[in-house]
């Protein structure tokens, strides 16, 4: 074997990401449409998004049930017929519900755009909320809920949101078993009427849409009534609960789920790109400090990660892991040790270079292909931001200094302010 051949190849700097600009148009009634042409296949990702997430609901399950009932029957077709048509055209629909937004995403072959737009119009704007379908859906969801409540990771995550955002705020409110009996079609119709409106919506199309796409959109959506101002009341800012340390006992659990974190700034804040980098170092990739320590060195867990993400009214950061019950205390301690290190010791140059390069590669992946492009576009657009946000992030990845990282850690990772939720055996 010739050892010369085994020398490490030189690493070229990862090139700057080039992000195609979305083409922004407005339908005659003002509905914003964003077209992102990309990819090699004749497919489309079609998203209709509304400010109709949990943040808009007065009590639990309304936003999600309204969203899930969209395909359960319309004024013109029964649920079975709608689903059969979607399946017939080889389309995949995903009902999407988040804290702030809700809507549908459909993946389709470009040649079926006309039929799918027609059907989308019906699904989104003429749902019938039939009683018997609603009853079946709620029964089903109750069974799913009961199964999910067995999982320590769900128990811990739900409690984490409650602790961080407050039990009565829609970001923090937990679903309870008896909530399922409280839903009736009238509540859903009202929620739909107020939130699934043309003034509340945007259409994002990526992939290879046909040349007449704008005409098709006008045809199917231009007659929706224009903006009607109904004076949306202000939703209060979320406020965390006082108790910052909660354990939920689950007898017999083999693993303990751990969630540690707090509310934080969101994407609109100038420090956010730096915080993303800090979070990556801590637990945002396979080579992160938490992964190296808790998994690769100590073998306490199959995986540990940290995340910082944005909502409209706030943001949050969380460290998540499931560890063997006997190691849960040690794992919690190691998590705090890693946070301490970030606050008190500057990150070394070689580690920082690694993170810079990894994240630069990650930015290429975030804009590779029509699906990724649309998701990244939306993730900035919904905060009133554009591609400048990503260019700022890319610039920060190249230039952030070790001192800046320590300062961010001291500013945003104050251990006394973090919430600690665990679920498992005592």
């Amino acid at each position: 074997m010739n050892n010369l051949y085994r020398e490490q190849p030189p690493v070229l700097p990862v090139g700057n990401v080039k992000i195609p600009e979305a083409q922004a148009i407005k339908l005659i009634n003002g509905i914003p449409v964003f077209l992102i042409e990309s990819g090699t296949e004749d497919i489309i990702r079609l998203e209709f998004t509304f400010i109709a997430g949990q943040v808009r609901e007065k009590s639990a399950l309304i936003a999600s049930t309204t969203n899930m009932m969209l395909t359960e029957g319309s004024e013109y077709h029964k649920a079975e017929e709608i689903n059969r048509m979607l399946d017939f055209y080889g389309a995949f629909i995903s009902l999407s519900l988040e804290k702030d937004r809700a809507g549908i995403v459909i993946y389709l072959l470009s040649k079926h755009l006309q039929r799918i737009l027609e059907l989308s119009r019906e699904i989104l704007f003429s749902p019938a909320f039939p009683e018997s379908e609603l009853e079946t859906l709620l029964k089903k969801r109750l069974r799913w809920f009961l199964v999910n409540r067995e999982k320590v990771q769900n128990i811990a995550m739900d409690q984490f949101f409650e602790s961080v955002f407050g039990m009565s705020h829609p970001y923090g409110r937990q679903v309870k078993e008896d909530d399922f009996a409280k839903i009736d079609p009238t509540m859903l119709k009202e929620f739909h009427e107020q939130n699934y409106t043309s003034s509340n919506m945007a259409i994002i199309i990526s992939g290879r849409p046909p040349a007449n796409t704008t005409d098709l959109l006008e045809k199917h959506f231009c007659d929706l009534p224009e903006f009607i101002c109904r004076g949306n009341e202000e939703i209060p800012k979320p406020k965390g609960e006082n108790n910052r340390k909660i354990h939920i006992a689950r007898q017999g659990a083999l693993q303990t789920a751990i969630r540690i974190g707090s509310a934080t700034i969101n994407k609109r804040h100038p420090d956010y790109p730096g915080l993303k980098i800090l979070d990556t170092i801590l637990g945002g990739y396979f080579g992160s400090r938490l992964m190296k320590n808790i998994r690769e060195d100590k073998g306490y867990t199959y995986g540990v990660n940290s995340l910082v993400t944005s909502f409209d009214l706030s943001g949050y950061k969380v460290i998540s892991t499931e560890v063997s019950a006997r190691n849960s205390r040690n794992a919690v301690e190691e998590i705090y040790n890693e946070i301490d290190r970030l606050r008190n010791e500057p990150v070394g140059e070689s580690e920082l270079e690694l993170v810079r390069n990894y994240m630069s590669g990650e930015m290429l992946r975030m804009f590779d292909g029509p699906f990724a492009l649309a998701e990244s576009f939306r993730a900035a657009w919904e905060f009133g931001l554009n591609n400048d946000y990503y260019y700022r992030l890319a610039e920060k990845i190249r230039t952030i200094s070790p001192d800046e990282i320590s300062e961010l850690a001291r500013e945003y990772y104050n251990i006394d302010e973090l919430y600690q939720v665990t679920a498992g055996v005592e």
Partner: protein, 414 residues
């Protein structure tokens, strides 16, 4: 249509390259023809544990992940009954870093006792997290040994028992490496911003000098034909009853494979599948029900699994289910429905081609079962299935005596 070029090195390594200039990245996939079916029944879970150890350092490189991340790359791997598959994506300019890393660990591993000990713990936590600490997570651990009596598909990839992982020893790991990891037992593919010729030259540079190895001959016992129905009822502290039914079917290479796969789509493809329409929506007996075929290299299973609604008993639920599967045997005028599931296969195939990682993996996977070119003929195969083939296959495979049923009976009163 996925265009690709194919090469074979002198040491037996097969190379498949798909050029896609629309991306700045390259996906690199390496499939090793070794899975949990190649394990000693007393040391199950080994192929998967081994996959973890492949990241613990190789002859010239102490740590796999760091140099890859330094080059802007990301990677992962999975193991199943048939194969162990490693994949990564990199900015095109840094593809050699990926080839350097992958060729070095094909050349030889060099991990420590400490590494082995840690990864054993990690795998045990994976076992807990995925199977034991999830409601219904252990169903597959009970269903496999019910359906298979002697074939190694009777144990799951994670292993038959945690103690097998705990007992793994360093010298056994070395032995496993040299009898399964070799250029002549692997298929490499690349998809992305690179031409076939460039890719071939680079693979030859990094892998060309790795010598052929003697691969342990695969002698798997054939599963005998099942002659009578098998049932296993387990009491479980769970929120709802559940049923799992498995029928022996065929290998992925068999001519009946596409018909059987299409049957599972008639039953459970999309929201409008028959099981969902009848048993969930109309009769409200199940809260969820699904059907799928295991796409195994050796004869696999067709599995239907569902969770029962409150106050529905097993007998009624099974009778309703049996009526639907029974009807498949006298299929005739189902033109629209057949068209629907075939359209779905077609669109799934197109969607999967939007990802360079999917394309790279599919090329290796089809090459393993005979020929990478099959990637371009799957849709026609589904298109050629007709109602007669559906009823024939249903009659032949979905019989009572060919079925193993597992029942999870909830011990709770809710």
């Amino acid at each position: 249509m996925i265009r690709f070029s194919k090469f074979t090195l002198e040491n037996g390594l097969r190379i498949l390259v798909h050029e896609d200039r629309s991306t700045p990245l390259i996906a690199l996939n390496i499939l090793y023809n070794v899975g949990s079916k190649d394990e000693d029944p007393k040391m199950t879970g080994f192929a998967h544990l081994f996959e973890h150890l492949m990241f613990g350092g190789s002859v010239n490189i102490p740590d796999y992940d760091t140099p890859l991340q330094m080059a802007g790359g990301e990677n992962n791997a999975f193991t199943n009954n048939d194969i162990t598959n490693y994949y990564l994506t990199l900015p095109a300019g840094n593809i050699e870093t990926g080839l350097w890393l992958e060729s070095d660990r094909m050349l030889g591993l060099d991990f420590s006792q400490k590494n082995l000990d840690t990864q054993k713990n990690v795998v045990i936590e994976e076992y807990n997290q995925r199977y034991l600490n999830q409601p219904y997570g252990d169903a597959i651990l009970n269903l496999r040994p019910l359906a298979y009596s002697i074939h190694p598909y009777r144990w799951p990839t994670i292993g038959m028992d945690i103690s097998h992982i705990e007992r793994a020893r360093l010298e056994k790991v070395r032995e496993f490496f040299f009898s399964h990891y070799a250029p002549n037992n692997a298929i490499l593919s690349m998809a992305g911003n690179i031409s076939g010729k460039e890719a071939y030259e680079l693979v030859k540079k990094w892998f060309g000098h790795i010598e052929k190895r003697e691969i342990r001959k695969r002698e798997l016992p054939a599963e005998p034909v099942q002659k009578e129905e098998r049932k296993l009822i387990l009491d479980k502290d769970l929120p709802a009853d559940a049923i799992y039914k498995a029928w022996h079917t065929v290998s992925r290479m068999d001519s009946d494979f596409h018909t059987l796969d299409l049957i599972t789509d008639l039953l459970a493809g999309g929201e409008s599948g028959r099981l969902n329409t009848k048993l969930v929506r109309e009769l409200k007996m199940f809260s969820e029900i699904n059907a799928f075929i295991t796409s195994d290299v050796d004869p696999g299973l067709l599995i239907i699994q569902g969770k029962l609604m409150k106050d529905v008993n097993f007998a009624d639920a099974e009778e309703a289910l049996a009526e639907i599967t029974g009807n498949l045997a006298n299929e005739n005028g189902l033109t629209d429905e057949m068209e629907k599931v075939k359209n779905k296969f077609e669109s799934s195939a197109v969607f999967s081609n939007t990802s360079i990682l999917n394309k790279a993996y599919s090329l290796c996977s089809y090459e393993l079962i005979g020929d990478a070119e099959l990637i371009n003929h799957e849709v026609e195969k589904y298109r050629s299935v007709d109602a007669g083939m559906v009823s024939k296959a249903a009659l032949q495979y979905l019989t009572v005596t060919n079925c193993s049923s597992l029942y999870y009976k909830s011990t709770r009163n809710n």
